[in-house]
């Protein structure tokens, strides 16, 4: 359990912000009561372990607002340097965006347009492949309140919400007493499909511990059973590590459910098969609608990655990996996505907002990023901010700044900040860069 920071001895008045929103993960819980004492968050009622660290970890700090080549500088100097880097580049990228407000995201895409660059978000290394699967076969889904009110068979596939979305069970998928599931957990069957017996798996009624990298074969077995296609039991056991009889039992339960739900994670998108793993799962959910109502939902990771999808889509027409070198948007995952433009050595400058590619990207991509000038906006010091040409320390969205975020089910939620911050907001820094870029490009 993360421990709250020690409060000052003299009792100064504490203020409480009710129904504040935590933006650490895609649950975007908006029922957090925050206690603030002399500009410190001292309590975050109902926040999970990740939420508490999020609120306590973003206390005020005295780091400089802006560093150029690691040396303190004014924000104005930083903006000037950033604008020059971006306007001189021939293949600049704007990347990240999943942990800032939609208002700031809209300016970041405007910058990408003005510098004829490529705009991409952390979606491309998260549920981007599920977005590509959606573009192939479509998707049957719903908002989380529908799951809470109707879901009676809940399947968690290739994900570990107990550790990545700790309140998902209690707030949305397993525990809530709903209109058509009045007894809550007792009215539901919980099923886990994963390669590890995680904390999530232990909370399930049924657990399918499949062979590593066999998600596609498991989904294909279920798709075959849904269409009553005869399959060879030995091959099913060989391919998935699970007997055909158990898959048949699961399919019978799926057909008998009133409202089936599949919530799936990185196990599908980051493993061999990637977008075609997701496509198999989306197709299964669609097929099931011939028998009963069935929905599916990718468990989005960051607080506003869904907002990034929405903003980039309504402004350019495409969800991520959007190249604007030609003066109009072009889309092609695997070509304009950041893992590729960096690993292939194509990008020659970058604007990185609220993300940490120097920690999470492939080795060739990190080596390229290290070798090109880039600007980083982040409330915290990270490996990315450390080797940035220009690093801005910005206020934290949801803790210091208001704005709009989109939960994993596209529901927009407004942020009510708890603390002021000495640092500029992402929106302010990006707007200044955008103004200067537009002038330089005239």
């Amino acid at each position: 359990m993360a421990t709250p920071p020690i409060t000052k001895p003299i009792e100064s008045p504490a203020t409480v912000i009710t129904d504040a929103t935590c933006t650490f993960c895609g649950c975007v819980c908006d029922d957090i009561d925050i206690t603030v004492k002399d500009n410190h968050i001292t309590d975050a009622k109902r926040a999970c372990v990740l939420g508490k660290s999020w609120f306590y970890g973003h206390a005020a700090d005295d780091r400089p607002d802006c560093l150029i080549e690691g040396q303190p500088a004014s924000v104005a100097e930083g903006v000037e340097r950033a604008a020059r880097i971006l306007t001189e580049a021939r293949y600049p990228i704007v990347y990240g965006l999943s942990d800032t407000t939609s208002e700031a995201q809209r300016v970041a895409v405007a910058i990408g347009d003005a510098i004829a660059g490529t705009v991409d978000t952390t979606t491309s290394v998260c549920h981007g492949p599920s977005g590509m699967a959606f573009q192939g076969v479509g998707e049957v889904t719903c908002t989380l309140g529908e799951v809470a009110n109707r879901g009676d068979l809940i399947i968690f596939w290739g994900g570990n919400p107990a550790e990545s979305h700790p309140r998902h069970f209690s707030k949305y998928s397993l525990m809530p007493k709903g209109m058509f599931v009045p007894n809550g957990r007792k009215d539901r069957t919980a099923v886990g499909v994963d390669v590890r017996k995680t904390k999530t798996a232990k909370a399930m009624d049924l657990f399918f511990q499949i062979k590593p990298r066999s998600d596609f074969e498991a989904l294909w077995t279920l798709r075959a059973l849904a269409k009553s296609v005869e399959v060879d039991p030995e091959q099913v056991k060989r391919d998935t590590g699970i007997e055909l009889s158990r898959w048949q039992d699961l399919m019978d339960r799926m057909k008998a459910a009133k409202f089936g739900v599949i919530l799936f994670g990185m196990g599908l998108t980051m493993t061999r098969g990637k977008h075609l793993n997701s496509e198999a799962l989306l197709s299964l959910a669609r097929d099931m609608n011939a028998f009963t109502r069935f929905v599916v939902k990718p468990m989005r990771g960051h607080g506003n990655v869904t907002g990034a999808d929405n903003v980039v889509t309504w402004q350019t027409g495409y969800p991520f990996g959007v190249n604007m070198s030609r003066g109009y948007p072009r889309f092609n995952p695997g070509e304009y996505t950041t893992s590729d433009t960096l690993a292939r050595g194509e990008a020659d400058a970058a604007l990185l907002v609220a993300c940490d590619p120097m920690a999470n990207f492939s080795q060739p991509a990190r080596e390229r990023l290290q070798s090109i000038p880039y600007i980083a906006l982040d409330p915290k010091e990270t490996p990315t901010t450390r080797s940035a040409a220009v690093a801005f320390t910005t206020a934290t969205y949801g803790i210091n700044t208001p704005g709009t975020v989109y939960r994993m089910d596209d529901v927009p939620i407004y942020l009510r900040p708890a603390l002021s911050s000495t640092h500029p907001t992402d929106l302010e820094v990006l707007s200044a860069i955008h103004r200067r870029v537009t002038e330089l490009k005239k």
Binding site: Q135, C142, V295, W314, Q315, G317, Y318, G327, D410
Partner: protein, 555 residues
Amino acid sequence: MSSGYFKIAGGTVYDPIHGVDGDVRDIWIRDGQIVETPSDFDIRPDKTLDASGLVVMPGGVDMHCHIAGPKVNAARKMRPEQKRKAEKVVRTSNTRSGTMGSVPSTFATGYKYAGLGYTTAFDAAIPPLAARHVHEEFEDTPCLDKGFFVLMGNNHFVMESIHRKEPEKLRSFIAWLLGAAKGFTPKVVNPGGVEIWKQLPSGNVHGLDENVAHFDVTPRQIIEQIARAVDALKLPHSVHLHANNLGMPGNWITTLETMKTFGDSRGHLAHIQFHSYGGGEGDENTFNSKVVELVEYVNAHHNLTVDVGQVLFGETTTMTADGPLGYYLSNAFKSKWFSSDTEMESGCGIAPIEYRNTSLVHSLQWAIGLEWYLLAKDPWRVVMSTDHPNGGSFLAYPQIIQLLMDRTYRQDMLKQVHPAVLERSTLADLTREYSLNEICIITRSGPAKILGLTRKGHLGPGADADITIYTPNDDKTKMFELPRAVIKSGVVIVEHGEVREPLTGKLLYVAPEYDTSIESDIAEWFEKYYSIRFRNYPVPLDYLHDREEVACAGL
């Protein structure tokens, strides 16, 4: 010293609300509004636009389109293959880049509507839970004043208060919900049917008097009670209805019954073309037009208005809050399918489709739409729309205008469609040709009046200075495709198709009074079933930028 005046001189003006049918006159503008001609003769306008020989009309008003919000954005995301091949919207010094296809990106939507001379548009179907999403998209949709209709026909609180026969509570809830979302009027889509879809596979209602399980109400009651509540609240625009059984052969019976359900309450029936079909259950070769029977009822009942929802041949993307319809269409066209149910409020379905002039059904849908325009007696109560993009894109309005104004063009097109159209609809015998005055009514003055917007759709003093100037041309498609100039709030925003000034435009919303004691009731229900907190649901005024509250004086 600038006089602040802007004069449009010597244009051939059409202003049907003031009975001006092609008179040559000047129009004076100041501070974004149309003003009386100044009595002091030596006042010089700062700027004059010579409109001699040109047609001058109010800015276009699209009262039913799908241009913003969760399902529109999902449809954008879902069609990269169409956007890759469609026209490119290239960035300029003062405009943003964008993409087209059946669902353009937001900036492109604003520029293209303005390029046709449209200055006001209403999105037809928004779940209130997603209102903020629409407000954010509207801010990135330039050149248009905008608003949206709030989905209520399958709202649980609405259905429960109708079941418990509490019309006052229903009225207060509707007023509260419109204020919370900053919307314009209630939108009822396949009432009851979407809720059954949420409960059962391929679930739907098939008639007005079918019971909606768990809520024990009927579609007829939902329509009747909401229509009455809207009239009692004196909202500027009536309830906006997408009737049950859209697209089903033989659905004209439901449509006629639905019209009667309104009694003498005001009612607007959206994309009426999709609801005017004769024929047996799913039996294609009996599919035929029932416009003659339905238009007779509408001609005789002045409380009812319709927009047509014209079908154009070619590829498009259907998107509807009618969840079960989306599933039906995607299976019929074997296409990819998106469906998303919003808790307590509505559903939605998206499916790419193609209308082909070789198909009997599609050709009849096309003909049925034109029949509605040509058989409706009162142009003030039949409105131009393609239910963009369900029947086709708003970019097709100029082509529809030519079909209505030019009989020979219409006859030529008739030769290219499925021959069954000749005996199964009356289109071949209709010789009516619309006048410019009537076109002005169905594309701006009529919808502005139906929406209750007193400062739109006309050129009298006090009107917003939204004006479009066309170069006369026998080829009506060309004439209406490329206006000479488009003026929004007194500023020339488009000339010869080039966007000069991409203004943002303002949000039009209503804030009807209501008995605030209902809020504790709503909060209790809300906290029990919704997945967000009640406090975080309403959109406060300061969330909006440019906005204008449209008063609820009603009629």
